[in-house]
Symmetry: C2
Subunit: 105 residues, 2 copies
């Protein structure tokens, strides 16, 4: 997808990032991320977004809540929901920052 | 977030994109995207990813399935799940393309 929109590029980054941290435990099963690798991903790839321990604790809780089938490995859909769970409060903070910048202009 | 990782930048693109197409129907309620604006977003922002009608029909079905509270407006969480629903099959296609490229080298 040489020419793609910014949104398509961003989605592809999230997909490639899943591939980077996921692995196949056997050839028939789809790729998944181990909880250990997911935490490694959080600290390597989301170290600015997850700065304070509050966010980190929220991410940890999300990981435990979200491993729906309790197999200790995270599917693409669980990964995507987890990132959404992290993005959603961040979306709120970004909007507040932008509004406070608008009011100070 | 001047210095951020590629993944953080991609998440911010998805968050900003939600803001771009969402609006507030009244000041107390969180911002949401109307179905009309969501379809407009699909055709403007995901026109390469949603090329064939199959993907487009899948996206339409997703919109109808996902408007959980049937208020005709899509929350951030519903928006995020919708994009994940679109990304997930794409993730599969991207991997197949990469594997077929690897085998031809």
């Amino acid at each position: 997808m040489a020419d793609c929109t910014e949104l398509e590029w961003a989605i592809q980054v999230l997909v490639n990032n899943f591939d980077k941290y996921s692995s196949r435990c056997c050839c028939r099963k789809p790729r998944r991320i181990s909880k250990k690798d997911f935490r490694k991903m959080l600290s390597c790839e989301l170290n600015h977004m997850l700065t304070d321990t509050g966010n980190r604790r929220a991410a940890d809780k999300l990981i435990c809540d979200l491993d729906e089938n309790k197999d200790g490995r995270i599917s693409f859909e669980e990964y995507w929901t987890l990132i959404g769970g992290i993005a959603s409060p961040i979306a709120h903070i970004i909007r507040q920052q932008e509004q406070s910048v608008k009011h100070t202009k």
